[in-house]
Amino acid sequence: MDETYEETMNIVIIDYGAGNIQSIKFAINRLGYEATLTHDVEEIQAADKVIFPGVGEASSAMKKLRASGVDVILSKLEQPVLGICLGMQLMCSFSEEGNTKGLGIFDVDVLRFSNGLKVPQIGWNKIENLKSELFKGLKDDYVYLVHSFYAPIDDEAIATSTYGLRYSTALKKDNFYGVQFHPEKSGDYGARILENFLKL
């Protein structure tokens, strides 16, 4: 029943009170899918695809995540999981922001931009060195970013950008993906990335 697959795919956006998730829901709708907003552990575990968003400050977001109980199950999920922006950062080992211990899915410590750069980095930057099926059919192009902290490049990097220094704009480990940029706000290019994730 391939033709009904899109309608029945169970997509969950984790709603733990950290960030603008309406835009992600709309972006998924524009691709012809529906998504559920929830912090219910069982619903998340039962999903085909899980999106882990987040904006704001790392330590308070991590507190909210713990309060929801989602922190315990997230790193054990086996379906494709996509962390967006702060969501990606919380999937790392540690963040300098509020000296926060993360979920430890990605083996990297998140650091603050320094060296006289304007912080936050706000706007469109190019992603390069694209790897993985998340960027299937896509060439280097601009994505929308808003962030003050970054993940240094390690062997989990599947995209890099340059802001004063080169850093990871996307990470992958097994079924876990993280993007520092906002695919839901990165025009048609971002929509393609989101679609690639949903088709994994």
């Binding site: 603008n20 469109w124 706000k185």
Partner: protein, 251 residues
């Protein structure tokens, strides 16, 4: 490399665009959602909606508009105009706005910046500053530049940064509407003094003005209204011209 941003600004009254727009391909010239989609397709990097209505229905109408824009538009947008409380911001962000901009309310109650940043994060709090020169000094003004305050531009901008704002939208009332170019000297001074992005506003008339504000004014983004609404400048052509001057743009 981070691209310089081009930002069309749409004035909104009672959920409709007010400034005349000259788009022959527009079905409904007053529909902000349709206009936003057109700008998004034309290559705008971001949009600003400035609500100038003063009705009791304002909040609800604006929140509904934000919802419909977020539904259709896949680039970031900022909403401003009369925002004065955590509740005002909360509903706009929940409905899908990426950022809000505050102006008079921040001047009257600077603590509001700290409160909004603590609740929502720096990344979504833009402080708009309107200023004009009086006896050689840049003085912050309210009510669209009509009412002078006792605050000076550079001191206020520094305070705004220290209170945690993520971005500053600086409009020179001396340049606004002149189509004579942006206030590049003041913009450059702001950019050197602060460590957060600065959006230039007021004075756009030609493509060269944009190049000048990015190079001389060191602006991170440039905002304009009528040159885009009346198609005096096409965003794509503008970006191609900027690229020729080695200014990084998203094309």
């Amino acid at each position: 490399m981070l691209a310089k941003r081009i930002i069309p600004c749409l004035d909104i009254k009672d959920g409709r665009t007010v400034k005349g727009v000259n788009f022959i391909d527009l079905r409904d010239a007053g529909d902000p959602v349709e206009l936003a989609e057109i700008y998004s397709r034309a290559g705008a990097d971001e949009l600003v909606f400035l609500d100038i209505s003063a009705t009791e229905q304002k909040r609800k109408t604006l929140a509904e508009l934000v919802y419909h824009v977020a539904e259709k538009v896949n680039i970031p947008f900022t909403v401003g105009g009369g925002i004065a409380s955590i509740e005002d911001v909360d509903i706009l962000l929940k409905n899908g706005a990426d950022k809000v901009s505050i102006n008079s309310s921040a001047v009257k109650n600077p603590q509001l910046i700290n409160d909004l940043v603590a609740k929502f994060g720096s990344q979504c709090i833009v402080v708009a500053i309107d200023a004009k020169q009086i006896d050689g000094e840049w003085v912050v003004h309210l009510v669209g530049g009509k009412v002078p305050t006792d605050r000076k531009l550079f001191e206020w901008a520094k305070e705004v940064e220290q209170r945690g704002a993520g971005e500053i939208l600086f409009t020179s009332m001396d340049h606004d509407g002149t189509k004579d170019g942006f206030a590049n000297e003041a913009l450059s001074e702001l950019s050197d003094a602060l460590n957060i992005p600065i959006i230039a506003s007021g004075g756009a008339g030609t493509m060269q003005h944009f190049a000048d504000t990015f190079i001389q004014g060191k602006a991170d983004a440039a905002l304009a209204a009528s040159v885009f609404h009346f198609k005096e400048i096409e965003i794509k052509e503008l970006k191609e011209a900027l690229k020729k001057e080695d200014i990084p743009v998203r094309l």
